[in-house]
Each structure stands twice: as structure tokens, then as C-alpha cells.
């Protein structure tokens, strides 16, 4: 194994992406965490907004 091959293999790992289902699961978890954060920071006024508006903030844009 030489350095060139090793560096090429490392660079190839740059194409690794999180799978879509895991991404969606994580977005949902973040959405819940964000709601808790808002509640704890006293920004209760935001909770009056429809959940759909809040959820769309984490929605995939592509």
C-alpha cells in the first residue's frame, strides 16, 4: 500500500452520503428537538404556528 493509493481511497470516501431514510428520520428528530428548545426558551408564541410551517423548515429543499 503506497501513499498515493491510500490518499485516492480516502478521497473516494467523499462520495459517502447519509441515506435518505436516515436523513428523514433525523429531520423529524430535529423538528421535535427544535419545538422543545422553543418551549424551554419561552418562545411559546411560536407554538401557535401550525406545525406544518415549522416542519417545512427542515424539509428537504431539492
Amino acid at each position: 500500500m503506497n501513499d498515493d493509493r491510500l490518499v485516492r481511497m480516502l478521497a473516494a470516501l467523499r462520495t459517502e452520503r447519509m441515506e435518505r431514510t436516515a436523513d428523514q428520520k433525523l429531520r423529524a428528530r430535529l423538528e421535535n428537538a427544535w419545538t422543545v428548545r422553543e418551549t424551554q426558551s419561552g418562545l411559546g408564541w411560536r407554538l401557535r404556528r401550525p406545525l406544518a410551517t415549522s416542519a417545512s423548515s427542515f424539509a428537504r429543499r431539492s
Binding site: 490518499v7 467523499r14 459517502e16 447519509m18 441515506e19 429531520r27 430535529l30 427542515f58
Partner: protein, 203 residues
């Protein structure tokens, strides 16, 4: 952001889209700003986590923990020359250490070889996927500071100067670390490759 202002559901690029501006907006309660930061760094943090765990499933769990922790601690983040991504890497490093402490046993090469990081890679190029799995196994064996430099320099493509800023080291120290880390990784890769070959011969 003033309380009561309508929350934007999308952000455009340019000045408003810099990490600094997004962090400011997120701190003020703008969920879409945090969503944009997540979008920008999700895959980079996932790859870092992959280099720590060696398997896609564990890397996904760890990435999830990292962003939830980032969301909870974003108020404590102050730029002061430290890029936001460095803040995320720091959270990832600590989360990985915490996770490793709770793991019952270290990863084995066998486990990694039978669970490649991407099934699509296997279909596209089986030997490359096996090499990647062995490489990931080798990466998990490195010391944290070696792995950090390898991931940031050779997987993410940051310059030595950028890595130095992110890790709070000098550029010279990063180059020295990089040299030692590559040497160590080469040895770990060769060992992991031999183990994998032994397993194939046995089966």
C-alpha cells in the same frame, strides 16, 4: 430577529446565507436557518462519524446525536475565528468518545467487511466497496487526533491551514500529524486487509 416577525421558511444564498448569519438567525429562533446549516454539513459530519464507527448504521445514529446536541448548544457557540463546522466537528468528536465508552466491544474487521458503508457501491464496484470497508475499519483504529486530520485533510479536502484553525493547532503541527497519521493508517489498513483475506480463505 425580532420576536413576532414571520419566520422565513427558506433562506437564499449570499450574505444572508453565510454560516455566521445562519447561526445568528438560528440563535434568534429561526428554524429554517438551522435547517440550512444541517443541510450544509450533514454529509461531512456523517463521513466523520463513519470514520469513527465504521458502519453506516452507527454513523447515522451518531450524526443524529451530533446535530441534536448542536441544536441544543448553538446558543453557546461564539465564532471568534472558529468556523461553525469546527464547532460541529468538536461535538462529533465528543459524542463519538461518549459512544465508544458505552460500546460493549470494539468493532471487528469481520463485522465491517460484511456490512459495507454503501450497498450501492457494492453493486457498482464490489472491490472498491470492500476496500472502503477495510479502510473504514483501519480508520476506526486510529488515535482521535490522527483520524481528525485524515478526515479533514483527505476526505473533506480542507487545507492544512484550515485544519489547523479548526483544531487549534499550528499548520506545521497539522503537517506533522498528517504524516504520522498516514503512516499509521497505512499500517492499520495492511493489517485489516490481511485479516479480511484470512477470513475469506477460511470461509
Amino acid at each position: 430577529m425580532a420576536v413576532g416577525r414571520a419566520r422565513p421558511v427558506d433562506l437564499t444564498g449570499g450574505e444572508a446565507g453565510t454560516d455566521e448569519a445562519l447561526v445568528r438567525a438560528a440563535k434568534s429562533g429561526d428554524a429554517s436557518a438551522f435547517g440550512e446549516l444541517y443541510e450544509r454539513y450533514r454529509d461531512a459530519i456523517y463521513r466523520y462519524c463513519l470514520s469513527r464507527t465504521g458502519t453506516a448504521h452507527d454513523a447515522e445514529d451518531l450524526t443524529s446525536d451530533v446535530f441534536v446536541k448542536a441544536l441544543h448548544s448553538i446558543d453557546s457557540y461564539q465564532e471568534r475565528g472558529l468556523p461553525f463546522v469546527a464547532f460541529l466537528y468538536r461535538i462529533a468528536r465528543n459524542a463519538a468518545i461518549d459512544r465508544a465508552r458505552t460500546m460493549k466491544q470494539p468493532l471487528s474487521v469481520d463485522e465491517l467487511v460484511t456490512e459495507p458503508s454503501s450497498k450501492q457501491n457494492v453493486e457498482a464496484d464490489a472491490s472498491l466497496a470492500v476496500d472502503s470497508s477495510i479502510l473504514l475499519a483501519a480508520l476506526t483504529k486510529l488515535k482521535t487526533e490522527h483520524r481528525d486530520v485524515i478526515v479533514m485533510r483527505f476526505i473533506e479536502g480542507y487545507s492544512a491551514l484550515e485544519v489547523a484553525a479548526a483544531l487549534g493547532k499550528t499548520e506545521g503541527a497539522v503537517r506533522t500529524l498528517q504524516h504520522r497519521a498516514l503512516e499509521r493508517l497505512r499500517k492499520e489498513f495492511d493489517d485489516a486487509e490481511r485479516d479480511a483475506a484470512r477470513k475469506v480463505r477460511r470461509s
